[in-house]
Amino acid sequence: MKVRVHVSLKNGVLDPQGRAIHHALEGLGFSGVNDVRAGRLIELDVADSVTDEALDEMCRKLLANMVIENYRIEKVAA
């Protein structure tokens, strides 16, 4: 089973990388970009026996830092 874990910064947490990317887009002449937030995509290939609870625990224990980040688990059809 393929699983995508989307990790993003929580609302209200300043994102210096997103801000720099935003600035670079403007520097390239792209207008109309209101905000940029950078996150991380982690793709897992797991056995079908892996439970939703186990995936959730993987996110909370390692893949995301719950102090500053949120995560969203997306199961991808094979």
Binding site: V13, L14, P16, A20, L62, I68
Partner: protein, 226 residues
């Protein structure tokens, strides 16, 4: 009893030798060098230091992989037993990732790696690590980091301030840290994490010796307790 310390080396640590030399010179005794894959720590440790560097290449998040390495289980247990633990720079990041200290260290607000001497204010001069300083004293200690931007929610920050757990504060803009926090203590006061490098400021040849007092404080504090 001679001072008994350990410095943990992760793959990618690069300040472990400096840390070991500082402890040896100032505290004397024995400094064990412990590898991250070791399942346990030497017996009877007084002091554990997590050094600066780029453990595991900063993969995932700075300090994230090191915080889950085998030896860190033993470090967490030792910290919970009351053993003094100092994390500097990457060591601070590891301590937050391991849950021994609150908050997180994010990318510097200015994006750039910051490597220079900075002025700090000693906010708490009563802790195990800072008793050799004067309250409010200004000291100069170098920083060298990319991810030193301390973040915690307002409730946590208020609690840290109220409980005297902000050990050091930057006196100049450095990395965008909330409330200019440069170093924090755990609730029992036996764990300190800080981004500046006291081990790089222990003799005049380093350009100053303001970092010495931190190690002297630990030595004196532990002798008093012993």
């Amino acid at each position: 009893m001679p001072f008994n310390a350990a410095v943990i080396t992760f793959p990618g640590s690069n300040c472990d030798r400096d840390m070991a030399v500082a402890i040896e010179e100032i505290c004397g005794g024995t400094v064990h060098r412990v590898w991250h894959g070791d399942a346990g720590l030497p017996e009877g440790l007084d002091f554990i230091a997590l050094p600066g560097g780029f453990s595991y290449g900063d993969y995932l998040r700075s300090g994230a992989m090191a915080a889950r390495s085998p030896v860190m289980q033993a470090v967490v247990e030792a910290a919970n037993r009351g053993v003094a633990v100092l994390g500097v720079c990457n060591g601070f990041q590891v301590l937050t990732e391991a849950g021994l200290l609150p908050g997180a260290l994010m990318r510097n607000a200015g994006i750039r790696f910051v490597c220079r001497d900075v002025k700090l204010k000693v906010e708490n001069a009563n802790s195990l690590f800072t008793s050799g300083y004067l309250p409010g004293q200004t000291i100069t200690i170098p920083v060298a980091h990319h991810d030193g931007n301390y973040f915690a929610d307002d409730v946590t920050l208020d609690r840290l301030e109220g409980e005297g757990r902000v050990a050091f504060r930057y006196l100049e803009p450095v990395n965008g840290s909330q409330r200019d926090i440069a170093g924090v203590l755990n609730d029992k006061g036996n764990v300190l994490g800080m981004m500046p490098h006291p081990e790089r400021m222990i003799e005049p040849a380093h350009g100053g010796s303001d970092g010495r007092k931190l190690f002297e404080s630990v030595l004196r504090g532990l002798n008093v307790l012993a």
